[in-house]
Structures are given as structure tokens and as C-alpha cells.
């Protein structure tokens, strides 16, 4: 009797295991995701995970500014996962108050005293650079 109970519990365990193993393939289209990812290079995988637009913006920012600069970013919600990824990929450039650069991401122009457009990706995505060298 005890052995039967143990075996029934094990059978229930295996069924639950199988359900939660397979379910994401239907609910989250995991097969599509994996089959896309498996073909990509490491760089393309980073873009896939980060989001193509945001990753292109990060590359644009990194390539446009001098290394170890300070910046602030507008258009990415503070402390969101996108903001964390942005900070991670931008390092050793550091987010700081009164920065050398302000990155504008998919946001209509925000007037910034003491800054002027330095480099432009498109009309809503661009970089401002500090003009007043005394501050």
C-alpha cells in the first residue's frame, strides 16, 4: 500500500514536471525564441535581448562620445530594466549629475540650457553636448 502511494506521488510529480516544462513552449513561444537565438552571433543576441532599437541607440551613443564620459539619458524610465541595461553597456561612461552629454531617446526635444545637439540618429533620438566649459 505504502509503495503504491509513493508511486502515485511520483507519477503526479512527473506529470506536473512535464506540464511546466512544455508549457512555456506554447505560452511564450519559446521554440520561436530559441530557434531565432540559436542562429545569431553574440552581438546580435545582445540586440535581441535588449531590443533592436535600444541596442542600436546604445551603440550610437558609445561610438559618438569620447570614452569615460559622464551622461544622463532622457526617454528611458529610471530604474527600469532598459535603464539598467543602458547603464551596463555604457560603462565605463557613467551616469552623473551635470553631465558632459545628454542622450535623448525617442523623445521630443527637451530644451536643455547649456547644451546643444552634438550628434543625431534621427529627429527624436540624438545626443546633446555641454557647451559651457566653465560648469
Amino acid at each position: 500500500m505504502r509503495r503504491i502511494v509513493v508511486r502515485l506521488i511520483l507519477a503526479a510529480w512527473v506529470i506536473i514536471w512535464a506540464i511546466f516544462l512544455i508549457r512555456p513552449y506554447f505560452k511564450k513561444d519559446l521554440l520561436d525564441r530559441y530557434s531565432s537565438l540559436i542562429k545569431l552571433s553574440t552581438e546580435a543576441k545582445r540586440a535581441f535581448v535588449t531590443g533592436e532599437d535600444l541596442y542600436a541607440f546604445i551603440k550610437f551613443c558609445k561610438e559618438s562620445i569620447k570614452e569615460r564620459a559622464t551622461y544622463q539619458v532622457e526617454g528611458i524610465e529610471k530604474d527600469s530594466i532598459e535603464h539598467r541595461r543602458f547603464k551596463y553597456y555604457m560603462y565605463p561612461d557613467i551616469e552623473a549629475k551635470n553631465p558632459e552629454y545628454i542622450f535623448i531617446y525617442k523623445t521630443k526635444h527637451l530644451p536643455q540650457d547649456g547644451y546643444k545637439v552634438f550628434s543625431r540618429m534621427n529627429s527624436e533620438t540624438y545626443i546633446l553636448r555641454k557647451t559651457d566649459k566653465k560648469t
Partner: protein, 421 residues
């Protein structure tokens, strides 16, 4: 003495070796030596070589595997391979994985050390700067040996912890149970969705679960087999748990309590038990003292309130319904835990008379103390986002820390109740 099985020894060399390597890296930074393949290898290679030379304990004479044993082995192997696949198919993407651990690792790698002004200059830039550094430094060591910052390949660290946890868990069980029973409970642990998810996502929780659970496993083995190497290993693992996550402080104190309870009962090995407890308390004190000297909070989620811990604990009683509600979500959530917590509750009821028997007492007491400890933490928490947010974002992770202990408890109860498959 042949104390450890070969696979168990390999798993311990990986996890303990990596942990000690990260401690060496902290010391190198303090004395101003930059990270390099040479500077990282100089201390750790002799330790690993010495560990490799210790002759392993032998398994029982091999018998052919039964069908059910083959099924367990196949399922465990599948989960391990699948964990490696899920890990290596995408770069770091989880919130804490990238915001805390990967960012710190990148800072350390690019600086070639822990920058001397890390705690001051980067305080506003790096979230949770006070968190222990084992995981970021482990990632940094990987980059150093690799020679480049590959945030995809570095994730291999995590499924290796998962594999190590399963190997150590099986090896511990194999000392008390037969092969089929040991495989059964290793299968249960290996197939928990929460365990497999955290084996792949770059968070510190599964490595932490390895260190804190293994510290209790080897403390328990010392109580049963009285070999000094087990209690020494338990102490090292306990320190590495503290070096991985702050919750390690709770586990170190729990281990100290368990060692004292045991030593009061078993006078023959009391000296070792008391020494273990005293050193554990000393290490917790040292951790808190160093943190305070550096101006760091134990955890920045707990510093916003100006009230004393005692006052917060008293007012924290109002939170108990919310905390219990979160616990029941975990207990009865098969999506993350399959049936393990339901089996644990069933085991408590069916085996009530045996839960404090000689063989089960240390594990039962550890689980109760961990639950009480974590409940106390929630009671005094003053996370800026509120207790609801804190519970919902951390509850399942805290349960992950001691689920291997619960799996061990189930296996021991299985034996106590004379059950078989």
C-alpha cells in the same frame, strides 16, 4: 582518509575553489596587485592541486541500473543539459543579474581590481553597492582567464553551480540511502522549476543555495559521522555563503545554534561543536563590523527607517498575515515548486513523532529557524517600495535558498517512515 566521493570532490573543488579565488581577489585589490592569470592562479592552483590529490571515497560495487533508476538518471541529465542550453543561448538579461552582478564584474574587470574608491565614487551609480562580492568577482575571474569580457560565456558559472548542487546532494544522500532512493530525491530537486530557472539567469540565489545548504549538509554529516573534515568544510561553506549574499549571516547563526544544541546533547564531540559555533558568531560579528567601518548598511532595503530593530520587529507583527499569505502562495504553487512544499507539510503531519528524532532534528530545526529568520527579516524590512513589493519580488527566491535542505529532510523522513519505491 577517503572522505569524499570523486564527483563530490570535483563539485566541491569548483564551488569552494571559486569562492576562495574571489576572496583572494579581494585581498589582491587591498594590497594593490592587479588581476591577471598569474596573480589569480598563484594561490588557488596549489589549493586545488592539494584537493585533487586527496584519494576519493569509493561508491558501492556497481550493480546494473533498474528501469526507474535509468529514468531518474536520464531526467537529471536532461535537466542539466537543458540548463546549460538555456544559459548559453542568451546573454545576461535578468534585472539583478545585469544591474548588480554583471555591472560590478565589468567595473572590476576593466579596472583590473576592485577600484580603491569603489564604495565612494560609484555609490550612486551601482545599485546595492553593499552586497557581498563573490558573484561579481567570480565573473571577473572568468573574464580574466578568458582574456575578454564575454557576458554570454560567463553565465556558464551558474549551471555549474546547479550541477554541483545535485552532485553534492546525491553524494550526501548516498551515505544514508540506497542508490534508487538517492536518485529519486536528486531527481525531485533537479526538476524543481524554480531551481532550474535560477540555474540559468545569472542571479546569486542558486550559488547561495549551494553554499548555505551544503554548509548544513556537511554540519549534519559531521554530527552523524564525526569526521573533522566535514565540520571544517561546513565552516568554509558557511563563510562563502556570507560572501555570496547577506542572508548568509542568518544561516551562519542558525548553524551555530544547531551546533550548540548538538554539542549539549553529544558531549563526546562538544568541543568541536562549540568552537564551530563560536567561530561562526565571530565571523558574523566581523562581517558586521567591517561593513559598519566602511559605512555600509547590511542591506540598503533596511536602512530607510530610523526606528530601532526592536521597535520595527514589534510593529512588524502587523505584517504577519501578509507574510503568511506570501508563504502559502509559495507552498501551494506547483508552477515553481511542483509538490515539494506539499510533501513537506504532509511529511510534518504523517511523521510528526519523528521530526525531532536524532536523525532528523538538525535538519528540522534548521528549516524552522530559517523560516523564523526570514519572517523576522520581512517584519523589520523597510523597503522603499513597501512590504508587498518586497514579499512578491523576494519570497520565491528566499524559499529557493533552503529548498535543498527541505529535499534532504524529505529523504531522511522517507527513510524514517520505512518507505520505498
Amino acid at each position: 582518509m577517503r572522505t569524499f566521493f570523486l564527483a563530490e570532490k570535483a563539485a566541491l573543488i569548483y564551488c569552494v575553489g571559486l569562492g576562495l579565488l574571489t576572496m583572494e581577489m579581494a585581498v589582491l585589490s587591498l594590497i594593490g596587485i592587479k588581476f591577471s592569470v598569474f596573480s589569480l592562479s598563484v594561490c588557488i592552483v596549489p589549493i586545488i592541486a592539494a584537493a585533487v590529490l586527496i584519494p576519493p571515497r569509493r561508491w558501492d560495487s556497481p550493480k546494473p541500473f533498474s528501469v526507474i533508476e535509468k529514468f531518474f538518471i536520464g531526467a537529471i541529465a536532461f535537466e542539466v543539459l537543458y540548463a546549460f542550453f538555456r544559459t548559453l543561448i542568451m546573454p545576461m538579461e535578468g534585472y539583478d543579474a545585469i544591474a548588480i552582478y554583471a555591472l560590478k564584474a565589468k567595473i572590476f574587470y576593466l579596472a583590473g581590481a576592485i577600484p580603491h574608491d569603489f564604495l565612494t565614487a560609484l555609490k550612486g551609480f551601482v545599485p546595492h553597492i553593499e552586497y557581498p562580492l563573490l558573484i561579481p568577482l567570480a565573473e571577473t575571474s572568468f573574464y580574466t582567464f578568458l582574456g575578454s569580457l564575454n557576458d554570454l560565456a560567463v553565465k556558464v558559472i551558474f549551471p555549474l553551480y546547479y550541477l554541483s548542487l545535485l552532485v553534492v546532494f546525491y553524494s550526501v544522500l548516498k551515505r544514508f540511502l540506497n542508490r534508487k532512493q538517492s536518485l529519486l530525491f536528486t531527481f525531485l530537486l533537479a526538476t524543481l522549476p524554480q531551481v532550474t530557472d535560477f540555474a540559468t539567469n545569472g542571479y546569486a540565489d542558486l550559488p547561495f543555495a549551494f553554499y548555505c545548504s551544503s554548509a548544513i549538509f556537511y554540519l549534519y554529516l559531521w554530527m552523524r559521522e564525526k569526521q573533522k573534515s566535514f565540520i571544517i568544510l561546513s565552516f568554509i561553506l558557511s563563510i562563502l555563503a556570507m560572501w555570496t549574499k547577506t542572508e548568509g549571516l542568518i544561516f551562519a547563526l542558525i548553524n551555530a545554534v544547531i551546533a550548540v544544541i548538538y554539542s549539549v546533547k553529544e558531549r563526546s564531540s562538544a568541543t568541536m561543536g562549540y568552537a564551530y559555533a563560536a567561530l561562526s558568531v565571530l565571523m558574523v560579528g566581523a562581517y558586521l563590523f567591517i561593513g559598519r567601518s566602511l559605512g555600509l548598511a547590511v542591506n540598503s532595503d533596511f536602512v530607510s527607517s530610523k526606528a530601532s530593530i526592536l521597535t520595527r520587529l514589534t510593529t512588524g507583527f502587523e505584517r504577519i498575515p501578509a507574510i503568511l499569505y506570501e508563504y502559502q502562495i509559495q507552498f501551494f504553487g506547483p508552477k515553481r515548486w511542483n509538490l515539494i512544499w506539499i510533501l513537506f507539510i504532509a511529511g510534518l503531519i504523517i511523521g510528526f513523532r519523528k521530526i525531532f528524532s536524532k536523525n532528523l532534528m538538525p535538519v528540522t530545526a534548521s528549516i524552522i529557524l530559517v523560516l523564523l529568520g526570514y519572517t523576522g527579516v520581512y517584519m523589520i524590512s523597510c523597503s522603499p517600495q513597501g512590504i508587498g513589493w518586497h514579499l512578491s519580488t523576494s519570497g520565491s527566491r528566499l524559499f529557493l535558498h533552503f529548498v535543498p535542505l527541505v529535499a534532504l529532510w524529505l529523504a531522511l523522513m522517507f527513510k524514517e517512515l520505512n518507505l520505498d519505491l
